[in-house]
């Protein structure tokens, strides 16, 4: 199990680069939708203890909106797009053409819009993986939840927890030019998938 996580610096760089391109695709997509510049940082590719993952997004009790997609194909995994609640409301206001500060809770249409954003961002992100690996990563229909970060992260951590004590996380942070929107994009390959992706990239 842990052999799979035992990556050389070049392999880590390769993953980071793919994540970078994927995040770039996603940022471009989001930026075109909301008509604002989106900055993103260089993705973190890191092996973290499972219980430390909630700290990456502000602690287990931070209120966030999460859009979750399961990835099917030869290298299955999970995608989770997490936004602080404030950012999600701001994004919904932008998408719906409402004045900022209008949204105080998410109705059905708002949720639908956010799930669609999750869908578009994941598609753009996974495209990068396809172009480097030629492994199709097909996202499921998105699901959405607004709750405590720890609770939402459970869905990906439980799966990993069954296989080991650490999680390989490919994570990027977004920030819109006016600071209204920030978010975290997580790609968490299932145990076994990382090896397949690395092999397909062909670096040692």
């Amino acid at each position: 199990m842990n052999d799979e996580y035992d990556l050389s610096p070049i392999q880590l760089d390769a993953l980071r680069e793919i994540g970078n391109v994927g995040a770039g695709n996603s940022a471009t997509a989001l930026s075109q939708i909301i008509n604002k510049r989106i900055d993103m940082n260089v993705p973190k590719v890191a092996l973290v203890p499972i219980e430390a993952v909630p700290d990456l997004v502000g602690g287990p009790d931070a209120i966030v909106v999460g859009v979750f997609l399961r990835i099917y194909g030869r290298a299955p995994g999970n995608v989770l797009f997490l936004m602080p609640q404030k950012s999600a409301f701001y994004l919904v206001d932008t998408l719906m053409g409402r004045e900022h500060g209008t949204t105080k809770t998410l109705d059905f249409m708002d949720e639908s819009a956010l799930m669609e954003i999750g869908n578009i961002l994941s598609g753009a992100y996974l495209n990068a993986f396809f172009s480097f690996t030629h492994i199709s990563m097909l996202p499921s229909i998105p699901a959405l939840a607004m709750d405590m970060a720890g609770a939402i992260l459970n869905i990906i951590l439980v799966q990993l927890g069954q296989m080991g004590d650490q999680a390989m996380v490919i994570e990027t942070e977004f920030l819109a030019e006016d600071d209204g929107i920030s978010g975290h994009f997580f790609l968490v390959p299932d145990p076994g998938s990382l090896g397949i992706l690395i092999e397909a990239v062909g670096v040692e």
């Binding site: 709750d147 405590m148 720890g150 992260l153 459970n154 869905i155 951590l157 439980v158 069954q162 004590d165």
Partner: protein
């Protein structure tokens, strides 16, 4: 609030009055509190999965109900609690995302709740209060002075069980 002790995911802590043990942001995880009302000694365990035998090797027994509960039980007894007086309260076990074709792992909350109750029963510990299921997260805390187990949510208020 005197002495708030944080319990992380896949972790447990034991203590005595006037401490309060707290664990944040449980989804499908379960927070299990043990309490001896006479000595005011207790513990809080935050498990992620029901069964260590169905998982690959782990260095952390507190991640699973079947290995975590006996571990915490031993520790509270070592601290001076009496097994016969100990009572349990549990909360968590939600399914956070609604999926039409939810796999087993997405329904792990239910399995966690069942396993926890079964393991407590097997150890002779009575579950006197429970707040499990649903599709929302919970923060739980046990006040070791009173034995009150507080369950906080975002949209559904908080309650003492």
């Amino acid at each position: 609030m005197a002495n708030l002790i944080k319990v992380g995911m896949a972790d447990y802590k034991v203590g005595r009055s006037p401490s309060t043990l707290i664990s944040y942001g449980l989804g499908s995880c379960i927070g299990i509190s043990l309490y001896d009302p006479q000595t005011k000694i207790g513990g809080l365990l935050h498990i992620m999965l029901p069964d260590s035998t169905q998982a690959r090797a782990s260095d952390n027994p507190a991640k699973f109900a079947d290995t975590g509960i006996p571990l915490m039980l031993n520790d509270v007894i070592a601290l001076g609690a009496s097994r016969s007086r100990l009572v349990a309260k549990i909360a968590g076990g939600a399914q956070m995302f609604a999926f039409a074709n939810a796999t087993d792992i997405m329904r792990v909350g239910n399995r966690n709740a069942d396993a926890v109750k079964q393991i407590l029963r097997r150890n002779g510990i009575k579950v006197i209060a429970e707040d499990t299921g649903g599709n929302y997260g919970r923060t739980v805390q046990i006040d070791l002075n009173t034995g009150v187990y507080k369950v906080k949510t975002i949209d559904r208020g908080e309650k003492d069980i």
